[in-house]
């Protein structure tokens, strides 16, 4: 799948999870079974087509009956099929029922980004997991169907709005792999300023940069399988620093909050529509927006805490002139402190 570890075999990506070996064994079992059957059937067909080709003096024999033969090839497959079903179902249960000691990571999918929320509340747009530890993903979608797919882990599961789905795995080696969306979820080519540009990069971590055409295919992320200590470091680093201050009853300093807000703007997928450069995307750019008088469909408003808070929780309430009412609500998906941090971040962009 990626440049570090080339495909394990010609047909299958590298094996990075405990179930992979089992799945691949079954895959190749069916593969060779198919090869044998295929060669037998097509071989016989071609051989007979030539041996018994129409030619002077050669006449077809009337078809006879051979009940044993017919019964044989009706019944024999049943045994193979039962075996396949049994192995397949076994493997399926193995990858469905998570062990109780699994680390639980929440996955929030939305058009068109992934967010991974770790037990300590910190979140990132790339998935970091420890090696040799069972990890259980509890997934939910804010808008339409998505599907969480990691080839090297051999896992895939649809993410359904209005319902939680889960998938679990235990990585067997450190490394990276791609996370793809496998359930069609639409796309966007048009920004308010007309057609968006498009140019994929060769950076395996970010092949599709924001501010371009986006959609189903661009819902790309990465899973990093790390040693336990690296994972712990990472989780700590994304943990909410403001929490520390709050826990001591202090107010979180602006710059710290702003830093947290920046992380949120990525993990919550804000950057997909709002730039911080002044460039106009689907939503207004955040550059210099703080304290500005914006004209909306409900009249002019001052961009302050209240307006930003409202725009996050009830985006349809006031639409800045010249923009579509396309932003989904984040109510229920973002906490008040998080909103404060975003506000601090937007403030800092002045």
């Amino acid at each position: 799948m990626n440049e570090q570890n080339a495909p394990a075999t010609y047909q299958l990506p590298p094996q990075m999870s405990t179930v992979a070996a089992e799945v691949d064994w079954l895959y190749y079992f069916i593969y060779w079974l198919s090869v044998v059957l295929f060669v037998a059937i097509v071989g016989a067909m071609i051989y007979w087509a030539i041996k018994y080709r129409e030619r002077p003096g050669h006449k077809a024999e009337p078809t006879g009956h051979n009940l044993p033969l017919e019964l044989a090839w009706t019944i024999a497959p049943i045994f193979i099929l039962v075996f396949l079903f049994h192995k397949g179902f076994q493997g399926y249960l193995d990858m469905t029922i998570a062990p109780p000691n699994a680390i639980e990571i929440r996955v929030n999918a939305k058009q068109w980004s992934w967010e991974f929320v770790y037990p300590n509340g910190g979140s990132s747009d790339k998935l970091h997991v420890p090696v040799h530890k069972p990890v259980k993903l509890v997934m939910a979608s804010a808008d339409v169907l998505h599907s969480f797919f990691v080839p090297a882990l051999r896992i895939k599961r649809d993410v359904v709005p209005g319902m939680y789905t889960t998938v679990w795995f235990e990585a067997t080696q450190t490394g990276k792999d791609d996370i793809a969306c496998a359930e069609y979820c639409g796309g966007r080519s048009e920004g308010p300023g007309g057609e968006l540009p498009y140019e994929p990069t060769n950076d395996p971590d970010n092949p599709y940069v924001s501010g371009q055409m986006t959609g189903h295919w661009a819902m790309h992320s990465r899973v990093y399988v790390e040693l336990q200590e690296d994972f712990d470091k990472f989780v700590k680093s994304i943990g909410d620093k403001c929490d520390a201050y709050r826990s001591e009853g202090k107010i979180c300093p602006g710059e710290v909050a702003a830093a947290e807000g920046q992380k949120l703007s990525v993990s919550k997928g804000c950057v997909a529509c709002h730039t911080t450069t002044g460039m106009r995307l689907v939503g207004p750019s955040w550059k210099d927006i703080w304290g500005k008088e914006e004209s909306t469909d409900k009249g002019d408003v001052l961009v302050d805490e209240n307006y930003i808070r409202e725009s996050i929780l009830a985006p349809q309430a006031k639409i800045v002139t010249g923009f579509q009412a396309v932003m989904p609500t984040f109510s229920g998906q973002i906490s008040d402190p998080e909103i404060d941090e975003l506000i601090a971040y937007i403030k800092s962009l002045k």
């Binding site: 409202e310 009830a314 349809q316 609500t329």
Partner: protein, 272 residues
Amino acid sequence: MANVSEVVAGAPGSNGDHAHPHPDFLQHHFDTPAQQFAAAKLGMWVFIATEILMFGGLFCAYAIWRALEPDVFDQAHHFLNKILGATNTVVLLFSSLTAALAVRSAQLGKRTQTSIYLVVTIACACVFLVVKYFEYSHKIHLGLLPGHCFGHPGFSGAIQSGEETGTCLRIHADQPGGSPEWVRAVDEDGHVQLLSPRANMFFALYFVMTGLHGLHVLIGMTVLGWVLVKNIQGKFSTKYFTPVDLGALYWHLVDLVWIYLFPLLYLVGKPE
């Protein structure tokens, strides 16, 4: 061609068969009226099977949601009037009877009688629709019309949020921590009920199922009307009454569907 095709005078199905005359109602590709009749009947029954499966989708949705949310369905079904439902059932059953009698008199070649029975059948259909109209308008008045404006008496909600694509329900759902509207209304037993937004599902199924059924009533009326005209023109006889038979079959189907809709929507659930 020797043994694949040869002329055997009188053999069933042979074109050379002059055993019985070919009346003008007999289509060119049939050999006997009986064959044509059997084909028509079978065709109609297969069509009825397709109709059942079409309604089947709705019955499936109903079964699923009722199993998942029994309380909601139980609570919501008190908003349907058992008496009106039963009345409509009897009306349809009676129309079925007259339809069957129409076929009978057609088989016996009693033209006027057939016409009378058909007229009665169509009349019953009208009665059924009128009653349905009153039921519908009452629900809408209570604000139980499913969909965007569920919980907004007489569409007022649509007007309230008219500027926003009229999605009353969704707008409520999108408000900060907001929940869709709860409907407070008086049910048929005179109790004030607080309906969860999930009750929308029950009324969605109620309106879609009865709506599709109502559509079939209309189609049935049209079909029977056409049969009536043909009958008055004297197109039918004891030898040829297929359209009357098929029209009646269709009408019985409409009756059949209602026989199931009535208990599922009106009666199932805990009594007060």
